[in-house]
């Protein structure tokens, strides 16, 4: 079992990192030939950073769009971030290069916030699931994968909840196991159904991430309607493929005809 989970987690991590990196590279390499920020838009790079921060941290547009979706969605994401930070203690070797982070991650407030964040995740995910099912418009646009994704993360949260609040897990042994994976030195995973379920589901999430709508994670940063500076009149924006068109753009027959000297009228 330990070996299976270790292999799964290793593969999932690789798939996730490579997959996301490939996607981010694709987005980066694909040109945005025209200035298409949704206006009003910032006129400076600093303004764009602020706009993006509002979107990524506060979900500003979603707040304008739908208060319920915002409440469920935002609470879920913030809780997920807190839970994620709490979990860093399992993969950071205090003696390793990232060891300097341990004192912060180990703080009581960080650990406690991360522990209770699971409640926020369950609240948010349940709300999103209910909305997806009960609001006719949202149900119409939902594919099976949209429900499964919520259920997957909800199951991860619930198995985590069980370990934090109901059963007990030998977290020191978990840390040894995780650090073992990172150093390719397999260690025994402590017994426990909740833990095994938790880790297998997390591995599945890692596999699914780069081939699913979870691509909104890199996508949000690459959205031209949000991340472009609104200065098209001041600065000429031109992409590589469009530069090639510029070489022949003056040759259209009607432009040549317009340039020809006019015949005097009879």
């Amino acid at each position: 079992m330990s070996t299976l989970i270790a292999v799964l987690l290793t593969l999932a991590t690789l798939v996730m990192i490579v997959g996301l990196a490939r996607k981010a590279r694709q987005y980066h390499a694909t040109p945005a030939p025209l200035k298409i920020p949704v206006t009003p838009a910032p006129k400076t790079t600093g303004g764009v950073v602020l706009r993006m921060a509002k979107e990524v941290i506060l979900f500003a547009s979603l707040f304008r769009a739908s208060k319920w979706t915002w409440i469920f969605g935002w609470i879920f994401h913030v809780s997920l971030a807190l839970a994620f930070i709490r979990h860093l203690r399992y993969v950071i070797d205090p003696e390793g290069p990232l060891g300097f982070m341990m004192p912060v991650i180990g703080l009581w407030i960080v650990q406690t916030a991360g522990k209770y964040a699971v409640l926020g995740m369950i609240f948010g995910l349940t709300g999103l699931l209910a909305r997806r099912y009960f609001v006719a418009r949202v149900r119409y646009i939902s594919a099976p994968s949209d429900y499964l994704m919520l259920l997957l993360i909800l199951s991860i949260a619930l198995s985590g909840f069980v370990m934090s609040f109901i059963t007990n897990v030998d977290i020191v042994a978990v840390k040894v196991f995780m650090l073992g994976i990172l150093s390719f030195n397999l260690q025994e995973l402590p017994e426990g159904t909740a833990l095994a379920v938790h880790l297998v589901l997390v591995a599945i999430l890692g596999f699914v991430l780069p081939i699913s709508k979870l691509l909104h994670i890199p996508g949000v940063f690459y959205s031209p309607t949000r991340n472009q500076v609104d200065n098209p009149r001041e600065k000429r924006h031109i992409s590589e493929w469009a530069k090639k068109l510029d070489e022949t753009r003056g040759d259209y027959p009607e432009l040549q005809a317009a340039r020809a000297p006019k015949e005097p009228e009879a």
Partner: protein
């Protein structure tokens, strides 16, 4: 009379329950092959039964061609690639589209519209869609799918209201443009837009008004204005060495209330002693290349403006009142036809007529009698392409404040419509994006519902009598469809029509009074 019902206006915009396929009968006419070819697209005519009209059908090998084109566009447009991947189906956009609110058709919800393309993208371009199509809602590309595309990507006015509310900024306009571009490459181009673009290439403007006819119209206008006020206001055409080249939508040359706006620009230029000219080469500000999502066609149309500016030796370019033209002018012109290093760099290139007029108003160069607009209580319709696809002035949001400042400088009575229907949350007129055609009248009548509701409320609460706009398409659409909601055509006005009413030129005699 039409075989559909005009939607009932409720006190506030009501979000309908989504119904499947209630608008799938509505499709615009398909462009003939010869019009397709003029735009570097393809077409195929099928005339099996000589008693019937010929059909314009998909070309041979359409399926591979469509998928190839999709791949090509995914590689050329980051927007398309990111938007295809990023949607989480959160539903934030589902109640934001005026066509959904007006028709209740589920596929007019922005995400459902995008999904028509996204499901095919997933099938042919993603791992999950190739191997688990049912699970992720991926679909094979079939003729039925193209049929749905043709219906519903011509029920999107590319107004970008959904993009304002999307947490990832997914802009359905970009998806619609891509879908239209793909369809144009397999024989399913749209007659209205593509024929108009053809007219720009051969004649010079959307309305097909040749140079001579244009000169006659302008001459007639000079006579009319002089008859009205005894001032010789000029409407110059092709004047070499003029300071300003004015490019304006060709509807300004004869449609109502557009033409009153054109008279307004001319009076402002006259009053400020500004040297200006129109051009017969660039006798069109509009650029339908935007609507069909074609960079090449958009560039080809834009190049006429560069050519005219070079030939006439002007120092500045000013745009008349036209919404999508201003998006192309403000956001794209520098990219498509720039750099404009031969123009005067002390002015924005291009400049909007509202920017120009407000500057003159603020400097006190215009003699204004606001009371001449006192019969009206005005409101202002933010046109989608101006509101969400462009800017004015130097501050973000200038596209909202500057036209309003112009109106308030020439009118005493002004109120805004409800907050969630103006500025960047404005509702499309229902006729934008290349849909201003009689074959889509049902959609246009239904699509104006949210705007009509807000206007009716403004009328009842604040006594609004007139709505001003700075877009030729908005003006044409409103004068045509708002009568279905109890308004008269003359309740739609141009912003520069208001300026024209209030301005008093030197030596002016009001013969009508």
């Amino acid at each position: 009379m039409a075989d559909y019902e005009v939607p009932e206006v409720k006190e506030y915009a009501v979000v309908p329950l989504p119904k499947d396929g209630v608008m799938d009968h509505l499709k615009p006419f398909v462009a003939k092959p010869e019009f397709q070819e003029a735009l570097n697209y393809v077409g195929k005519k099928e005339h099996l039964d000589p008693k019937e009209m010929p059909k314009y059908v998909l070309v041979d090998g359409w399926k591979e061609k469509a998928i190839d084109k999709m791949g090509d566009l995914l590689g050329r447009y980051r927007s398309l690639q990111v938007f295809m991947d990023s949607c989480v189906k959160c539903g934030a956009c589902t109640d934001k589209c005026h066509y959904f609110l007006g028709t209740g058709d589920a596929k007019n919800m922005p995400v459902a519209r995008q999904d028509l393309l996204r499901s095919v993208y997933r099938r042919y371009f993603t791992f999950a869609g190739k191997y688990f199509p049912k699970l992720v809602g991926a679909k094979d590309l079939t003729e039925e799918v193209i049929d749905d595309w043709y219906s519903y990507f011509h029920q999107c006015s590319e107004c970008r209201r959904c993009a304002v509310f999307c947490p990832y900024g997914i802009d359905t306009a970009e998806v619609t443009m891509a879908a239209r571009e793909i369809m144009a490459h397999i024989g399913k181009g749209m007659k209205y837009s593509n024929e108009i673009i053809g007219k720009v290439f051969t004649i010079g403007n959307n309305l097909g008004l040749p140079e001579k006819a244009l000169a006659n119209v302008l001459e007639g206008l000079e006579e009319d204005v002089e008859d009205d006020i005894e001032v010789a206001v000029k409407f110059p055409l092709d004047v070499k060495g003029a300071d300003i080249l004015l490019v304006t939508p060709s509807a300004d040359f004869f449609a109502e209330p557009h033409i009153d706006g054109l008279i307004g620009y001319a009076k402002v230029f006259h009053a400020t002693n500004t040297s200006w000219t129109l051009s017969s080469i660039a006798s069109e500000a509009g650029n339908f290349g935007l609507f069909i999502g074609s960079y090449e066609n958009m560039q080809r149309i834009s190049m006429r403006i560069r050519e005219a500016a070079l030939q006439l030796g002007v120092k500045r370019i000013v745009y008349g009142e036209c919404g999508h033209a201003w998006r192309v002018g403000y956001s794209f012109l520098n990219t498509l036809a720039g750099p404009f290093d031969f123009l005067d760099q002390n002015y924005p290139i291009p400049q909007h007529i509202c920017e120009f007029t407000l500057d003159k108003l603020e400097k006190g160069e215009l003699n204004i009698d606001k009371s001449r607009n006192d019969e009206m209580t005005l409101t202002f319709h933010d046109s989608c392409n101006v509101a969400r696809g462009s800017g004015m002035g130097t501050e973000p949001g200038g596209q909202f404040t500057i036209p309003r400042a112009v109106i308030k400088a020439v009118c005493n009575n002004y109120v805004d419509m409800e907050k969630d229907t103006i500025h960047d949350a404005t509702f499309c007129c229902g006729g934008g994006g290349g849909l201003l055609t009689d074959d889509l009248m049902e959609l246009r009548v239904k699509g104006v519902l949210p705007r009509a509701t807000a206007l009716i409320n403004a009328k009842e609460e604040h006594g609004v009598t007139h709505m001003a706009a700075i877009c030729a398409i908005c003006k044409s659409q409103f004068t045509k469809v708002l009568p279905y909601y109890g308004f008269t055509m003359d309740q739609i006005v141009s912003v520069h029509q208001l300026v024209s009413n209030a301005i008093i030129l030197e030596g002016q005699v009001d013969l009508e009074d």
